[in-house]
Amino acid sequence: MTFRRATAGIALVLGLATTGVPAQAADPIKIGFFAPLTGNLANFGERFRESVQLFEEQVNAAGGIEGRKIEVIYEDDRNSPKEAASIAQKFANTPGLVFAVGSFSTTASLAAAPILTEAKIPQVSPSSSHPDFPKFSPYQFRQNTRQDKLAPLHAELVVDKLKGKKIAIPFFQDDWGQTTANLTKAAIEQRGGEVVLIEPIAPNARDFRPLVSKIKALNPDVIFLPVHYQEASAFVQQLRQAGVTTPIGSPDPLSNPKFLELAGKDAEGILLYTSFFADDPRVKAYVDAYKAKYNRLPDQYSALAYDSIAVGVNAIRTVLQSGKPLTGENVRDAIASAPAYEGLTGTTKYDDEREVNKKSTFIIIKNGAYVLY
């Protein structure tokens, strides 16, 4: 099968398979998916893929959309803008592909954006957090809430809930971490808090002792931690090891079962929020199905990817039911004008800027588990 796929790829590259016949009504509806499935950020991309695959199976097991099956084309972009652009071209040259999910980081998503836009393929990214991402063109959507809408929540968490006056913010050095840290700093200062340290943590860094010593000397009342879970777990371990007991607040990426596993007892007491809470009875069906298939709990990223493809498939269904031709343009309009959709991570209702505003729940880590705060 691998070999067949390889030869199919070669044929495509040679341009032999590109002049497709008009899609038959019984043909599967093609959906593109791209994310980092290998390399540095593969752990996130893998979460996306698992959910999208689960969704694909569930839809097809239920008879597809209006009797037509869906077929997701999975591609690995290695978080490289170059690969993302090539994948976008591949999608643009795949007849009948009307919707794409991806990618994880904004840069990979945006490298694909111009090509997908030109091909009139709507794109929903589960997690691109750059403030300008959906502004690129009317074809870009996302599932995560824009950071400036979350900043007041962060300030509330740090200043009101954790009673912080002097706050340290070590942040992850990517577009998400940088935006979050800067906006949160402004929001904290607006509420009368003081940010005594704001410093980036390099991706894949593991040694935080210099930073920990610095934080220890500054003696803040609260540490706000917009850092992905792998680096964050090493950070909190080294922080606690140094005898620093300062309370920690964090945004949603730490609501991840893997974080609990990695950080162990040092994760105790961290206060955070999430838009996806696995113990919520409303998401039980999904959590059970995911656990049965992959033998681990879903995290927020899996849930966001599930909602991303769900939004697209709903739009495709709307287009089919309306009797309009199934084109990327019509799917885009259907996504933009879709009624509020209750997903796993909250309500998706795109505003004029193609942004969502999802509600978050405060949770705290107690006895090695997330519980409602």
Binding site: T2, R4, A6, G9, I10, L12, V13, L14, G15, T18, T19, T38, A42, N43, E46, D76, S80, P81, K82, A85, S86, Q89, K90, A92, N93, T106, T107, A108, L110, A111, E118, H130, D132, F136, P170, Q173, D175, Q178, E199, P200, A202, N204, R206, D207, R209, P210, L211, S213, K216, A217, Q230, S233, A234, Q237, Q241, G243, K258, E261, L262, G264
Partner: protein
């Protein structure tokens, strides 16, 4: 003051970790004279095998560690046997590439076996921490320190006082002389690789204990630090590796403490480069390195071992195939017809990347092949070009003629400045110096937020407009295809003219024997700087075109992986052979698209293809020139 002391202690703690990793490099470098890029992969495997032994088979820590050390040592032996032995007698760079290919295969296999996730390491030594005021040290630190010291002492004793150790050193100093005295140098090489594997596994396990987690991508960041430490201390010196590791640890900890955590690595690599300016042999690297052809410059003692030494002796036997300068125009003209036949923008996009990487690979071949300074930092120059376009195109509204000219000029300038610390270095030391340059470039892109916008990247780069052609705008994929093809073909013609001219001959003379070139009255340094300027100009053009094609510039495109990929292309094409470099660059850039069907096995297949290609044509596809 107390903070300062506690930071020094922190630096020592991480420094000993680096020292352990550096030991593995030094050993292999000393004996086999090979930069073993797979050392990082062996290090990662050591940690993961110990992890599996504990988590899956329930072994206690010590037996698990022993199992892992033995397995990885055997893997080290196999690595030598499979990937390096067949390449004895091949050009110097072939084994280097071979270790790269192996490391790609191992890293990707680990992601498949253990999933890309971090795993908590299921054993720990002790969570006790001793406090001295605000400073602290943990029991784990002490244990690692104990192991590191014990390993160093044992290794030193072994190398100094046993017969095997002496034979190892003899092989390191002069392999052919040692062979004539009856030493089985092939066995010695194997022993060195086995030992390096064991050391790698040991340091991997200790690092896993230190950070309490393992992840499949851990080989690269720690491997880079290991290189830096080994280079700082003096390659091939055992005490040097330890001193280098500790100094690196302290230096970067202080940088993190007083400048900022994001500048940590940038400062560490800058210090390394500055140190190389003063002491090209490293702190404790002595004359032994000269015997290995590692250090020295035209001004100093310099043996005649160049990167291609063994290939030049074969040159009469192995023909190099290359195009005349106008040949690039002919090929370009043929490619210009493709969009008339093929309508798929997917194919065109893949070809565009092929052209850009052909250019980049040629720029690498110029310094690495023609002048013989192996460049593992070309991505930095590529990035400068891309950022030049990113910064000037939208805010200043400049047309593409202007931005590309800026990209070319600026990158040439940056390349010349970057080459200054390299002038005194040769061989592997120079290669590792370029690695540092590449890292510094990447870190500048990431951290100089006011200009590069850091991790946010520069978005919405406008479509290129050429004012010289009456404001011609290149908006569609086809139009960009012609733009890139045109620039690439012309640039390659110019580069090939350089290489075939008397200037190119001087470059090759410098590569073959720097001392002889100097003695013949050639201004060696000026010619090296010229080579970097031309190479930088090519890379800058490639970067500028890349920015226009991509419309997004962000640091991810300019990592060490890109540098390594580009060097791979240059070597595979045949060093110094621009035609070969362009062909290999083109082929390797579009190859991943062909391999998409292999899904997560893609990079493994890629690595295997590389190994096979090296085995069949160690002197490069079209032959070194």
């Amino acid at each position: 003051m107390e903070l300062f002391l506690s930071q020094i202690l922190n630096g020592l703690a991480i420094g000993q970790v680096y020292a352990l990793i550096a030991l593995g490099f030094s050993l292999v470098f000393g004996v086999a004279n090979i930069i073993n890029f797979a050392q990082g992969a062996l290090f990662m495997l050591g940690a993961f095998i110990a992890y599996s032994a504990i988590a899956w088979f329930g072994l206690p820590l010590v037996p698990a560690a022993a199992v892992s050390v033995v397995i990885v040592a055997i893997l080290g032996l196999l690595l030598e046997r499979i990937a390096l032995r067949p390449l004895i007698g091949a050009p110097y760079v072939a084994p280097f590439l071979s270790t790269l290919a192996i490391s790609t295969i191992i890293d990707q296999s680990a992601e498949i076996v253990w999933s890309p996730e971090s795993q908590p390491f299921p054993a720990s030594i002790s969570s006790t921490t001793f406090f001295i005021g605000n400073a602290y040290i943990t029991v784990t630190d002490l244990v690692i320190f104990g192991f590191g010291a014990a390993a160093t002492v044992a290794l030193t004793l072994f190398v100094s006082f046993t017969w095997t150790g002496r034979a190892l050193r003899a092989t390191a100093q002069d392999a052919s002389a040692a062979a004539q005295l009856g030493i089985r140098t092939d066995v010695m090489r194997q022993i060195a690789f086995g030992l390096a594997g064991a050391l790698g596994a040991l340091s991997g396990i200790l690092v896993a204990l230190y950070f309490q987690s393992v992840f499949p991508q851990m080989g690269i960041p720690f491997g880079l630090k290991g290189f830096a430490a080994a280079l700082l201390g003096g390659l091939a010196s055992i005490p040097g590796a330890v001193v280098g590791g500790l100094l690196l640890g302290i230096g970067e900890t202080l940088a993190s403490a007083y400048v900022g955590d994001s500048y940590r690595d940038a400062i560490a690599f800058t210090l390394l480069l500055l140190m190389l300016l003063v002491r090209p042999n490293g702190l404790l690297g002595g004359g032994r390195l000269d015997a290995l052809g590692g250090a020295g410059a035209a001004a100093g003692a310099m043996p005649t071992t160049s990167l291609l030494a063994s290939s030049s002796s074969q040159q009469s036997a192995l023909r190099a195939y290359y195009l005349p300068p106008w040949g690039f125009l002919a090929v370009g003209a043929a490619f210009a017809l493709v969009p008339l036949v093929v309508s798929s923008t997917y194919v065109l996009q893949a070809l565009i990347y092929g052209f850009i990487f052909a250019l980049l690979s040629a720029s690498t071949s110029l310094v690495s092949g023609s002048v013989g300074i192996l460049s593992i930092g070309q991505a930095a120059f590529f990035g400068v070009g891309a950022y030049a376009v990113g910064v000037f195109a939208r805010p200043y509204g400049l047309p593409a003629d202007a931005t590309l000219a800026i990209a070319i000029g600026l990158t040439a300038l940056v390349a010349v400045v970057a080459a200054i610390p390299l002038l005194k270095l040769t061989g592997h030391t120079a290669a590792l110096g370029t690695l540092a340059i590449g890292q510094i470039g990447f870190l500048v892109f990431l951290n100089w937020v006011s200009v590069t916008r850091g991790p946010m990247g520069i978005l919405n780069i406008p479509h290129p407009v050429l004012e010289l052609l009456g404001g011609l705008r290149f908006a569609t994929t086809e139009q960009k295809y012609w733009l890139v093809l045109g620039f690439a073909a012309v640039a390659l013609v110019i580069a090939e003219r350089y290489v075939s001219s008397p200037i190119g001959r001087v470059w090759r003379a410098i590569r073959e024997d720097r001392l002889a070139a100097l003695a013949a009255g050639l201004p060696v340094r000026r010619y090296i700087l010229l080579a970097f300027a031309v190479s930088g100009a090519l890379a800058g053009l490639a970067g500028g075109l890349f920015a226009y094609v991509q419309q997004v510039v962000s640091p991810e495109s300019f990592t060490v992986e890109t540098s390594i990929l580009v060097l791979t292309m240059a070597v595979l094409g045949g060093l110094g052979n621009l035609t070969g470099a362009a062909l290999a660059g083109f082929a390797l850039a579009i190859l991943p698209e062909f391999l998409r069907g292999f899904a997560e096995w893609r990079m493994i297949v890629y690595g295997l293809l590389l190994l096979v290609a090296l085995r069949v044509r160690p002197q490069g596809l079209l032959g070194a020139r």
